[in-house]
Subunit: 250 residues, 2 copies
């Protein structure tokens, strides 16, 4: 299995089509995209292309945002955006200025995935894409038509923290063309025992793997994961999101 | 970056030395281990080599284990082992027979990492290695001396579930020869902004990536991750374990 970082993608602007940019950059560096590849694209360039950028000076904080901001020492306009982008607050640690929320998309993460880095302008922040499955599908459609291939998957990734462990890793927030979970139910191990760990979140593992070639500051927002076995599917990221009723940590 | 699954490792028995077995199997399949590689070894073969296997018939359940087992429909001997291997119960869902604990090693996972699959004998289970950092260091020492190389890291991995998301992924439970966290603090992005997500858990990303070539039932318990940039270090896995005082989910 190979993971190839794709450099040379120019600064992305609202309205840009990522499919052609990814295709072109991969070919230009001598690693054209092939059938069977999983192409991982970071949230940041997807959000930029889709215009999910907010000028903070245009944001009017609500009373709730003003109160949370005062209690936590955070920027009230950012807190307002976090609240707008969230269904519920899962945990708050006002002393450390941390808000863990469930976003309107169903992800549990800090600050609703709102990011102030790698965005032009001190006062501009990026929101998560409105529907990262749709974003992934649009990129996939372009790649499949242009190359042309059929067995290709696209994952949109973002960098989240975790419960219990330090450090962030990349997770899948949008998926097109693959089942995000590999199901071993019914599989028997080398000793004839049925496997206990039966469902592996391969789309998250692919996202995590791709981060290793995406040095944060170095302008590598896309990776090609080649040689991984996946099953086609069009259910998107939903399969990765644990239902609230079975979640012991919400 | 490349990830190479290492097949051909024979069934591991208590007392076996994994270093020579890994070295031999990697060479035999034509992908000898090189300087700069991260070698990922699954918990299962480490536990077997270290004799961390328990015959369930020898386990006497305590009253607490009997009670939890009765309430949850689990095997009381397994519940007893989970309690012995844990510092605290973090969450329990007796209806679904789930115990999430903090293990004596500091990992938060289901069933204290006790595994009944891929172990010979219906009544034998494997516990986590007593000290996976030490296990990783012993394998690393052998590889570094035998090849010989100096810039080589070893990660012991295990497959855990996550809060909020479905499916399991591989995490690092033992680390030797590398800093498990890559620290971007102070790094400036392409627009001159300081990066917000500043600490990436690369040892976990490496473990997750390696799972993609370790098909569960197919006898690939080792992977070579080649071409990833890491910093040498001997702090082990501790850097990945979030302190209880800053953990909002314990």
């Amino acid at each position: 299995m190979e993971i190839i970082g794709v450099a040379g993608i120019p600064e992305v602007h609202p309205g840009d089509e990522l499919g052609p940019m990814v295709l072109q950059a991969a070919s230009a560096q001598g690693t054209p995209i092939e059938d069977g590849d999983v192409v991982v694209v970071t949230q940041k360039i997807v959000s930029k292309a889709e215009g999910q950028l907010v000028d903070l000076s245009t944001v009017e904080p609500s009373k709730k945002a003003l109160r949370l901001a005062a209690e936590s020492g955070r920027n009230p306009r950012i807190v307002e955006l976090v609240l707008r982008e969230s269904r519920t607050i899962v945990r708050k640690d006002l002393e450390r200025g941390i808000l863990i929320t469930e976003t309107i998309h169903g992800f549990v993460c800090a600050n609703a995935g709102i990011d102030t880095s790698n965005v032009p302008g001190h006062e501009t922040v990026s929101l998560l894409p409105k529907d990262s499955d749709r974003s992934a599908a649009a990129i996939r459609r372009h790649l499949c038509d242009a190359i042309p291939v059929t067995d290709l998957a696209v994952v949109v990734s973002d960098t989240f923290g975790r419960a219990w462990r330090n450090g962030h890793v990349n997770f899948a927030i949008g998926v097109a063309g693959m089942e995000p979970i590999k199901d071993y139910r019914g599989t028997v191990d080398a000793h004839g025992e049925t496997l206990h760990v039966t469902r592996i979140a391969i789309a998250d593992e692919i996202a995590a793997a791709s981060e290793l070639v995406m040095a944060k500051a170095d302008g590598i927002p896309v990776a090609i994961v080649r040689g991984v076995t996946f099953t086609g599917g069009d259910g998107g990221v939903a399969g990765l999101l644990r239902d609230r009723s079975t979640d012991l940590f919400r």
